[in-house]
């Protein structure tokens, strides 16, 4: 019923290594024997049709789901053994973006970015301006449009000290300019030695993207 497309990506220094990952949900095998290596400087796009297990894979990598078999190795050690140091070096961006509707963009970032590094308001304001939210810094987020809320959360990318970014469909509801800008941000992060794992159905127009396709047949 299920056929697994396996692919191994290998560039630069090994950051995250996945060995023989299997995941079954509701008795349907989503992927089995999935192995790949993510290295500094990579952008890895997880592709696959709806329901092929992309979100599940990303959540497993971050330790948010534990219904899997296999090994996930972070800088040479199992992620289970070093959860906290892994968390400090990881930024996850999920389907739900982590923006409180009552707080303003500024207040939201003060907390969500502040959990990972020390920030000051000037840094936050700059990040908000960079994602095109100038003039909305002090509006409560429930008055923002869907795309603007997405942008608030994306401002975290510009503030994060994390090496590995794990992004689940970050492009939804963004307009054309914002999409181009986000692609640029991802490319920059990789160039500076970071790594990005991203799912999207959108065709990335970035130079060197590796692709891993999860297959349902």
């Amino acid at each position: 019923m299920n056929q697994i497309t396996e692919s191994t990506v290998a560039l630069g220094a090994p950051l995250l290594e996945v060995r023989g990952l299997c995941c079954e949900r509701d008795e349907r095998m989503l992927f089995a024997g999935l192995s790949f290596v993510v290295e500094c400087g990579t952008v890895l796009q997880i592709a696959g049709s709806n329901g092929s297990g992309k979100t599940t894979l990303l959540r497993i990598l971050c330790g948010l789901n534990d219904g899997y078999d296999g090994e996930i190795i972070w800088r040479g050690e199992s992620t289970d053994d070093m959860a906290e140091s892994f968390a400090g070096d990881l930024l996850y961006f999920g389907h739900r973006v982590g923006v409180n509707k009552i707080l303003t963009p500024l207040e939201n970032l003060r907390w969500s970015a502040g959990m990972q590094r020390n920030v000051n308001d000037q840094l936050l304001l700059d990040a908000l301006e960079a994602v095109g939210l100038r003039g909305f810094e002090e509006s409560p987020c429930y008055t923002l449009s869907a795309g603007q809320q997405q942008r608030v959360s994306l401002a975290r990318l510009r503030l994060s000290p994390a090496t590995l970014w794990v992004l689940d469909e970050p492009f939804t509801t963004l307009d054309v300019d914002a999409v181009a800008q986000l692609e640029q941000t991802l490319a920059d992060h990789a160039r500076q030695g970071g790594a990005v794992i991203v799912t999207t159905h959108h065709k990335l127009s970035m130079p060197s993207v590796s692709r891993l396709t999860l297959g349902v047949n």
Binding site: S85, L90, R96, G98, K101, L103, W111, G114, M115, Q116
Partner: protein
């Protein structure tokens, strides 16, 4: 860029979370006024439904106040993690590089400051309305001061377990209420004892023990429950 960030201390993550939750509560206002209003309204139902006579009220006052406290604490729990679950902030919390124990504790403290403390402060007024003998006001406040944080901590476990469910109000109650029975019993016994001039120190000690126990165990359990709920 990758090396600029300095990882904040756990202490500052704790303060950041505490401040954020207080800020949300103050912006919403309802979170502060409502537990208190609910407490007042429930208490005022009793003279209506049972009896407006002063003597009868005196007899039931301690129990009624404690039951109202219990129900209002339980109702107010609903907002503890739900918003964060729905908007994805909970994932940010779980994936932050700090021990979850302290972050959960920060959230619980913020919640208690907002929903428990006002009730404690208002209690003498309601005790007066229910004709509780004035000698026991001090004991009442003291038991509430010790008891309400315990209730919050216990409730937090139940909320964390049920945070992903559609309608939680009731399942929350079903899980929390049996756990709150000891607090309820010792709380009322202490007040009743002081109302009849007996010493209430023993009950207070028991309440303190319950608080100490839940302070050390409940945040851990809540943290584990949150991890389960989010997965």
């Amino acid at each position: 860029m990758l090396s600029v960030g300095v990882k904040p201390s756990t202490r500052s993550a704790f303060m950041l979370t505490l401040k954020r939750d207080l800020l949300i509560a103050f912006k919403r206002k309802n979170d502060i006024v409502n537990p208190f209003m609910f407490f007042v309204i429930v208490i005022s139902l009793f003279p209506l439904a049972i009896s407006p006579e002063g003597e009868r009220l005196t007899e039931i006052a301690a129990g009624v106040i404690w039951i109202a406290v219990l129900l209002s604490a339980m109702l107010s729990m609903d907002s503890l993690y739900r918003g964060d679950f729905e908007d994805g902030s909970l994932e940010i919390l779980l994936l932050s590089p700090h021990p979850l124990f302290f972050l959960v504790l920060a959230k619980n403290i913020a919640h208690w400051l907002v929903s428990g403390l006002p009730v404690v402060i208002a209690s003498p007024l309601l005790a007066y309305m229910l004709k509780l003998p004035s000698e026991s006001y001090a004991t009442l406040m003291l038991t509430l001061l010790i008891g309400t944080p315990t209730l919050s901590l216990i409730g937090s476990i139940a909320v964390a377990l049920t945070v992903g469910l559609g309608s939680r109000g009731l399942i929350l109650a079903v899980i929390t209420l049996p756990f709150s029975v000891p607090v309820l019993i010792f709380g009322t016994l202490a007040v009743q004892a002081s109302a009849s001039g007996l010493p209430s120190g023993g009950y207070l000690t028991l309440l303190l023990a319950l608080l100490a126990g839940s302070l050390s165990l409940a945040p851990l359990t809540s943290a584990a429950a949150l991890r389960i709920s989010v997965s």
